[in-house]
Each structure stands twice: as structure tokens, then as C-alpha cells.
């Protein structure tokens, strides 16, 4: 009876795992087909693996330029957002001032703000300020920090012992040095978590690049998302090359999560559940 239960359980799990893997498998296999196979062949596997498609990713479009823009955007977002969010969080966690509670409630209420509500108003602002086709939208948003990251850092800073800052103060450290030389170096797991999640946002976001970048200054998300970037001489879209590009675009994301998973703070996923 127990053995039957186990077998059923594993059968279900393996079946589900296959179902979950199948779409990704479809992407990989499609990126290795010829154009005619991609369009018309009902066969699952290609007759011959077309590794050439991966070569075409670089030859038919300025892939490296898109990649460079993605990287620059990611770095700007990560550095500025992590610095600002942790700085603000330090203030909320360790300093006393009138109005702090109300201000922190504002931070939390920003967590609950519907994410699409500000897309258009900010778009109007940035186009009016002529910041289209620049990195400024990402830099400004990063420098302002973000509610989720502030919350994350604050929760961690709150748990650090008070003796730590008292000792530093006796030694004549100012608040900023306490933050920069004691708190930040002692919260590397949170810094890593914050950086990884900010990277994930900057790398995969499609809305901002498609609003703020033209095709000449596009990043990978916009290039892979836009049709007719990888085309044959007649102007027809080469979808299997686009698939190959999508896989190359996906790779850094998987690598970073794979390498970074052991740093990701466990309680991130449960943030906000417990009152």
C-alpha cells in the first residue's frame, strides 16, 4: 500500500516535471531548426541540428550592442538601487526622528502600489524631460531606491546588535561610516539578494526599454521582444534565429541565479506574509 503510494507520487512528480520542462525544450529545439522546418514541419526534432543559427544571431543584428546596453542598464540599476535602498533602510532601522513611523508606512504603501499605475505618468515625465534614449530613467529610479529593497535591508539591519554602533561611536565614527564600514559589510547576504533581484528586474523588464529606447539604442529584452530584428535578405523574420537569441539572452539570468542561490536570503520569499 505504502509502496503503491510512493510510486504514484513519483509518477505524478516526474510527469509534472516533464510537462514543466517541455516548453523550455521546445525553445531549445526550435532554435536548432531550419526555417522551413520551423514553419511547416510537424516533426518534433530537426533533421539536422542547425548550430549555424547561433552564428546568425551575431551576424544579422548587432547582438553585442544590445547586450552591452542590457549590461549597462543592469549595472546602473544594481549599484544605485542597492546603495540608496540600504542607505534609506539604515535610516529607518537605526536612527530616531519625529515622523519616522509615518514615513515608513509610506514606504510600505508603495509596496502595495499597482505596478502599472506609474508606467504612463513616468513616461510622460521622462519624455517631457527629453530623457528618452538615455540611461537616465534607470539611473533616477535606481537612485531613489525601491520600497521592496528598503524593506528587505531594514528587516536585516533591525536584527543587528546595538553594541555594534555604540562601539563605533565611541571610536568616533559618524553615522555614515557606521553604515558604510560596519552595517553594509556585515549584511553581504542581503546585499547579494538585493543585487540579484534588481538584476533580474533590469535584465528581464520589457516595458521600460520599449518605452524609452529606440531600436538604435535597444537592449536585449527589447530586441528579442521586437519582431523583425533577425531577418533574411527578403525581410522575413527568422524566428529560429530569434529563438537562439532568446536563449543567449536567458543564459546570464540562469547563471546568476544558479551561482547566487546560496546567498539569497531564505526569508525573502516569505516577506510580507507574517504581519
Amino acid at each position: 500500500m505504502r509502496a503503491i503510494r510512493r510510486i504514484t507520487l513519483y509518477t505524478i512528480l516526474v510527469a509534472l516535471a516533464l510537462v514543466f520542462l517541455a516548453p523550455s525544450f521546445g525553445l531549445v529545439i526550435s532554435s536548432l531548426k531550419t526555417q522551413s522546418e520551423f514553419r511547416t514541419s510537424p516533426r518534433i526534432l530537426p533533421a539536422e541540428l542547425q548550430w549555424e543559427n547561433y552564428d546568425l544571431v551575431f551576424r544579422l543584428a548587432p547582438f553585442w550592442r544590445y547586450a552591452r546596453n542590457s549590461v549597462v542598464i543592469a549595472i546602473i540599476s544594481i549599484v544605485l538601487n542597492t546603495f540608496s535602498s540600504s542607505l534609506v533602510a539604515f535610516g529607518f532601522a537605526r536612527l530616531r526622528a519625529p515622523g519616522k513611523t509615518v514615513l515608513f508606512m509610506l514606504v510600505v504603501s508603495m509596496l502595495l502600489m499597482p505596478s502599472t499605475a506609474m508606467v504612463i505618468p513616468q513616461f510622460i515625465l521622462y519624455t517631457r524631460l527629453r530623457l528618452v534614449n538615455t540611461y537616465w530613467p534607470w539611473a533616477l529610479a535606481g537612485a531613489a531606491g525601491s520600497a521592496w529593497h528598503i524593506f528587505l535591508f531594514r528587516q536585516f539591519f533591525l536584527t543587528m546588535p546595538k553594541d555594534l554602533e555604540d562601539a563605533a561611536e565611541v571610536d568616533g565614527c559618524g553615522w555614515f561610516r557606521i553604515f558604510w564600514q560596519i552595517f553594509l559589510p556585515n549584511s553581504l547576504p542581503v546585499v547579494a539578494t538585493s543585487c540579484i533581484f534588481q538584476f533580474a528586474w533590469a535584465w528581464s523588464d520589457y516595458v521600460w526599454p520599449s518605452l524609452y529606447l529606440s531600436m538604435d539604442s535597444m537592449n536585449l529584452a527589447g530586441a528579442v521582444g521586437g519582431a523583425f530584428v533577425w531577418v533574411d535578405p527578403t525581410g522575413a523574420s527568422l524566428e529560429m534565429v530569434r529563438m537562439a537569441a532568446a536563449l543567449l539572452y536567458l543564459a546570464p539570468m540562469l547563471i546568476i541565479f544558479f551561482l547566487g542561490q546560496k546567498y539569497i536570503v531564505e526569508n525573502v520569499v516569505t516577506t510580507g506574509i507574517k504581519g
Binding site: 523550455s24 525553445l27 536612527l95 530616531r96 505618468p121 510622460i124 528598503i150 535584465w203 531600436m215 504581519g275
Partner: protein
Amino acid sequence: MITETRRANVATPRRFVRLDQAGRWLRRRSVREALTFYLFISPWGLGLLCLTLFPFAMGVLISFTNYDGISPINLVKFTGFANYARALDDRLALQTFSRTVGFSLWLVPLLLIASMGLALLLQQGVKGLGAFRAVFYLPTLFPVVTTALIWLTITNKNAGLLNAAISLVRPGTAINWLGEYALLVLTLLMVWSGAGQGMVVFLAGLQGISRELKEAAMIDGASSWQVFRCVTLPLLTSVIFFQLLVSLIAALQIFVQTVLLTPGTGGGAQYGLGRVPKPSIYMYMNYVMVQILGFQRFGYGTALLWLFFVALVLVALVMYKTGGYWVYYEVEQD
């Protein structure tokens, strides 16, 4: 002693005394600490003012005008509540709205069942837990662009993996999935790419339930279904509530996936967000984007946006208020 003080008072002119007082006030620890606090949170504060509240106010103002996104400011006219009146009378707005609500009410429970189901299966002391968890979590890491591309490809009528797989059982299957069942494809996409996230949250929640409680119930003769129904489920309600709230609000705002599932007209991504998706997956936020980015109707589009925003906030509030009736918190809420 007394004379000295008196002399000092006489000798120092009044404004110096005041400056001195200000200096002493500034040197006070609590004051310095407070000023440092405001300095530390100033990046966020400035961002809130300039990048959130200001555009927000501007957006609200624009919804009362005929702004088109390009005209100089002096040509913009106030039109009062005309945009709002028009929005409430707009059949397409109502249609896309009810489609979005319908879709969300169908997607959210599915997502919940999928993510809770996966977590419960993995909770049974499975060998290779890490591998299974990674497989189910993997799709949540995919950028939306990649996810949409995957589903476009595998649901392709002539060469898609889905039809190819069905053809193994029923040769010659050539279903035009995106033509006839776009809503189903969108649902599958959302469940596939979202279930892993919820699963991780549920797994964390399940870990928080003590074994003793379950074992006590077992000893009292409860079947495993009864243990789930009467112990596990009630203790999971706070997680369920959180997942419901987050995924409902997210589902109502869907628009990127629907645009990306509609193969592009025109090159490049710019303003691709303003594309009209296939009719069956034409959602409310798409309608807003079409009005603003497609037709340059910024005034009308923002009016539609704010009406929706109010609706979203109301939904969240109602859920939050009614949550108290069925959500069990182990710790008293502040």
C-alpha cells in the same frame, strides 16, 4: 557666580545668544540624529516626490485635458470630466474590463491550486526534492519576452511542439491554438511561469507548521485528508490570502504577455506596447496602452487608467477587510 552670569548676559548681544542657542540645539544628539535620518532617507524622499507623486499628480491633471503627448503645453485644453464621462460610456472599455476580470477570476484559483499542489506533493519527503523544486521554479526566472516566445512557438499551428505531441496520438493535428484558444494559451503561460513562485512560498509556509500538530491529529485517528482539511489548510490561510491578493492584483494588470503573444506588426519594440492584441486576450490595460501609445490620447488614456487604479485599490481594500473573517494568524496582528 551669579554676577558672572549676569555680566555675560549683559555683554552678549541678543542675536548672538540666539545663534548660540541654535548651535547648542544643533549639537544636541537627538537633533543631530533626526537630521541625519532625514539626510539618509532623502534619496527615497526625493524619488517619492519627483518620480512618483509629481508624475502621479500630473497624470491626474492630464486626465482632465485633451493632452496628446506632443502638443506644446499652451495648446492643451481642460475638458473637465469629459474623459471620465466618455470612459464610463465606452463599450470597448467595459468589454476589455469584464474580460480582464473574468480572466483573473479564472487564472487566480488555477495558479493557487497549481502552486499549492506542487508544494504539497514536494512536502511528502520526496527524494531529489531540490531537483524537482528547481524544475518547477525554473520558468519563473525566464524574462517575459522569452516566455512569450516559447509559447508562441510551441502553440504554432504547423510546427509547434503541442500539435506535434498531440499528433503522436492523433496524427495530423493542426490546431490553430493562438487563433482559436488564445485565452487558453495565455492561461497556460501564466500558470507555467507563475506556479513556481507560489510553490516556494507555500513550501516555506508548510515548513512553518509543526509536525507535532499533525502527529497529534493522526494519533487521534484523523485520516491524511482530515489532517490536511483541519490542520494544514487552516494554518496555511495566511499564505493563501497573501498569494490570492498578490496574484489577483497582478492578473488584473496583465498587458505585456498579451502584446507579446500577438506577433508584431512593424519592427522594433518601441510603442510595441500600444499594439492591439488578439480579440480574445484584449485586456483592459492593453486598451489603456492602445489609447495612449497607439492613438496618442493621453487625456483619455489616463482617465481610463485612474478609474482602473481606483478599482484595484478597492479590490485590495475589500480583500484586506474581508480577510479577517477567514484568515488565521498565529501571532496577533499589530
